[in-house]
């Protein structure tokens, strides 16, 4: 019984639900309290004890249904005795026993046998979908598949009508067993392995070059970027305070001690409040960054969701505020709209900066960080360095995130090197990992 719970917890852990030892003990106590009989109650209870957020809850519910849909609870304990006897069993007996199992109406016994075999084959170690075949074969073997095979060969050599019928029967038995084993192995993969595979794919996606991301991966990227954005927001959204020892806050101290005649029992020190990051993002959506554009917008969208007081602008030739679009529309619709209205034209950084100066200049103050997402390829137009210098002087700083490799900076129409002196930081951002690091640094600089 305990083993079932601990295996279930292992399945949860492999699906990225963090379960501590303490919680595992709680789960055991819970099951001891409520018993195994009422599955719905057990599901509610374990969800309460083990899953600590909404997303964890949905993972838990899915796994619970998968996991406890098998498992006739009492079967596992018998396995020890039957194991030894099976290995020395006569092929004929074994075949007989297995065909008994495979008969209709014997589902319960078959399920129990499958469970035993799963145990012996170590099915819970399954990690990848490619292992399903291997594990289902191991299970059939554990049930006595070799003996069955031997008997089948014998029957095939018989060459009498009786022997033919027997062979056909055994083939059917084998098929039934293999199917059942395979089904069980697939379920085990769903429970123990699927999450692992997903994690692996996420890992690959996060380190993949952004320009190489295909349309099919976009959904995965969307989730990943959202995760990254959420992580960054959690880390940085709170206002920070630090007590400055040594500086007395006279006003608050007097107020706090008014009840004791102003004798300063309770001394209050001055606190310095840290600014919440104020961020302007200017995103290039022109033709030259076409490969990255969806990605840049994805990032913009997620950042907007995660950091409430962020202002976002997009441009290719003319610059436009896209706060409304990002706030009110679903991701795909927002991207489409931005690209239709602003995107994929020919770039002019100069024009964009002068638009920005005209309409949004008042948004820049000494607390503002300006993040520019783009490649700095301006079609040989005037880069308006004068404006850029002006922004740099007035804002806290400017960070430029460039999807292009450093080797290409300054080649052709790229004016990146001329902007670079005014930027506090200019990074090459090629993968999601780079990006997370860059944005994290931007936000950390406030603390």
């Amino acid at each position: 019984m305990e083993k079932q719970i601990s295996n279930f917890i292992r399945a949860l852990r492999s699906a990225d639900v963090r379960v501590s030892t303490g919680e595992a003990l709680d789960a055991a106590r819970t099951v001891a309290m409520i018993g195994y009989d009422d599955r719905a109650l057990m599901k509610d209870s374990l969800a309460c004890v083990l899953a600590k957020s909404e997303s964890e809850k949905s993972i838990h519910d899915r796994l619970f249904d998968l996991y406890f849909s098998s498992a006739p609870a009492g079967s596992v304990s018998q396995s020890a005795e039957s194991e030894t006897q099976e290995s020395q069993e006569d092929p004929k007996d074994a075949a007989e026993r297995l065909s008994q199992l495979a008969q209709e109406g014997n589902e319960q016994a078959l399920a129990a046998a499958i469970e035993r075999a799963a145990e012996q084959a170590g099915l819970n170690d399954i990690r990848f979908s490619t292992q399903v075949a291997y594990f289902s074969q191991s299970m059939v073997r554990a049930m006595g598949g070799e003996q069955l095979q031997a008997r089948l060969l014998e029957a095939l050599q018989g060459r009498t009508p009786d022997a033919d019928a027997e062979a056909q029967r055994l083939i059917d038995v084998r098929r039934t067993l293999t199917m059942a084993a395979r089904e069980r192995a697939e379920r085990a993969f769903q429970i123990f392995g699927a999450a692992e595979t997903e994690k692996f794919r996420d890992e690959v996606a996060a380190t993949k070059r952004l320009s190489a991301i295909e349309a099919g991966d976009m959904a995965r990227m969307k989730q990943l970027v959202a995760k990254v954005a959420k992580r960054l927001a959690v880390k940085h959204s709170r206002r920070r305070k630090r007590t400055q020892r040594g500086l007395l806050d006279v006003r608050r101290t007097m107020r706090a001690n008014a009840g004791v005649d102003g004798v300063p029992f309770n001394v209050i020190w001055r606190q310095k409040k840290k600014d919440r990051p104020k961020i302007l993002v200017i995103c290039d959506v022109s033709g030259s960054v076409a490969l990255y554009v969806r990605f840049l917008l994805l990032l913009l969208y997620s950042m907007k969701e995660a950091i409430p007081d962020l202002h976002a602008y997009a441009f290719s030739y003319r610059l436009k505020n896209v706060d409304d679009i990002l706030e009110t529309m679903e991701f795909d619709a927002a991207i489409k709209k931005i690209l239709r209205e602003i995107g994929l034209g020919s770039t002019s950084y100069g024009q964009a900066f002068s638009d920005f100066k005209m309409d949004h200049e008042n948004k820049i103050d000494r607390r503002t960080t300006i993040i520019i997402l783009g490649d700095g390829r301006s079609n040989y137009g005037d880069p308006r360095l004068d404006l850029f210098r002006d922004f740099a002087g007035r804002a806290k700083r400017i960070i430029w995130l460039n999807p292009e490799g450093r080797a290409l900076w300054g080649t052709g129409d790229s004016v990146i090197p001329r902007y670079e002196p005014f930027c506090a930081q200019m990074s090459h951002v090629a993968t999601l990992k780079d990006l997370e690091k860059a944005v994290d640094e931007v936000l950390t600089a406030y603390s």
Binding site: T30, L41, D44, V49, A51, S53, K57, V260
Partner: protein, 330 residues
């Protein structure tokens, strides 16, 4: 449930008993909620409740305390909440006053002592006068520990407090004890039933989550919402109740900023009742929509759809029954 009142926690013996008991104090529970309460009692663990505003997180604590006849001790969290306000405070004024009054007595007492050292020795012969329980002012957490019968401790909106405070809570939540340096550790005689609520303003720390059972209360389904409104609003007709709940449910599915919660449904039901509405009508809905929706943009988003939604809410429902005049819904 009357016979259980003396023993405090006794009624929490089965999940059905909890659902029924909460019902007596007007809280319509679900199996998840009752299970969480049952486990919280059985495992002696706090419950952390998350969910949108106004779905009855705080109410659960209030109803529990009402049903079990235990004192409800509520601590509202906010940024800057510290030990002094949550746990205990020394009564400085009283200490000061006592010092003044006892000054002469002290002089007499210490009169015989020649040196400073002597008087110190004499003084330490007495027990600590000023840092004793007499001068301890209990704040919610300590107060909850001191209840002889046990209590329901509600730590409301924990996500609004600082991270440091969260860490400070850990001792209280895992061992049901608090430490006052001058006195020592005070352990709860009967562990309080602790309920924490969070609106997810920020992600809570893992350490805290691990010590709690987690319960998510979402928006109720049609049936439960009807029962809740019926329990809260006297004299509402079945037809109107059914229609308005269906309307609210469909509003929740729309793409709006702030989805109406149960509290708003109840307010709206009261409003409609005041206006003597017997069935849901377009005009009534249009006039009172601001009770249900709290954002100008949300109202603007829903307004054009009102005729259609009212039609759907008053028409036959999915099970093919006529909503209006159906006698015993819920």
């Amino acid at each position: 449930m009357a016979k259980d009142k003396k023993t405090g926690y006794e009624p929490l013996t089965s999940i059905e008993a909890i659902t029924a008991g909460l019902g007596t104090s007007g809280y319509i529970s679900t199996s998840q909620i009752s299970t969480a309460v049952f486990l919280a009692h059985g495992l002696r663990k706090p419950i952390l409740i998350e969910g949108p505003a106004g779905v009855g997180k705080t109410d659960l604590a209030a109803s529990l305390s009402k049903w079990m006849d235990l004192p409800l001790i509520r601590m509202q969290c906010y940024e800057g909440l510290d030990e002094g306000k949550a746990l205990y405070e020394w009564k400085y004024g009283k200490q000061l006053l006592y010092t003044q009054i006892l000054k002469e007595k002290l002089n007499e007492l210490l009169g015989g002592a020649e040196t400073l050292k002597d008087s110190l020795a004499k003084l330490s012969g007495f027990e600590d006068l000023f840092f004793s329980r007499q001068f301890l002012e209990a704040r919610p957490l300590l107060h909850a520990m001191q209840q002889d019968q046990g209590s329901v401790l509600l730590i409301d909106e924990i996500d609004k407090s600082d991270e440091a405070f969260e860490a400070f809570l850990l001792e209280v939540l895992s061992d049901y004890q608090v430490t006052v340096p001058e006195i020592g550790t005070i352990k709860a005689k009967v562990p309080p039933l602790v309920i924490l609520t969070s609106n997810n303003v920020r992600e809570l720390g893992d350490a805290l989550k691990r010590r709690c059972l987690h319960l998510h209360i979402g928006f109720p389904d049609h049936e439960r919402e009807q029962r809740i409104v019926r329990a809260r609003v006297d004299g509402i007709s079945d037809a109107l109740l059914n229609q308005l709940v269906r309307f609210v449910q469909s509003v929740r599915e729309a793409d709006i900023k702030k989805r109406p919660s149960i509290a708003e449904t109840v307010d709206w039901a009261r409003t409609l009742l005041l206006m003597h509405a017997s069935t849901l009508e377009e005009d009534f809905v249009r006039d009172t929509l601001n009770v249900l929706l709290k954002h100008e943009t949300d109202i603007a988003a829903i307004a054009p759809a009102i005729p259609k939604m009212v039609r759907e809410a008053t028409g036959p429902d999915a099970r093919g029954r006529l909503a209006s005049g159906y006698p015993d819904m819920g």
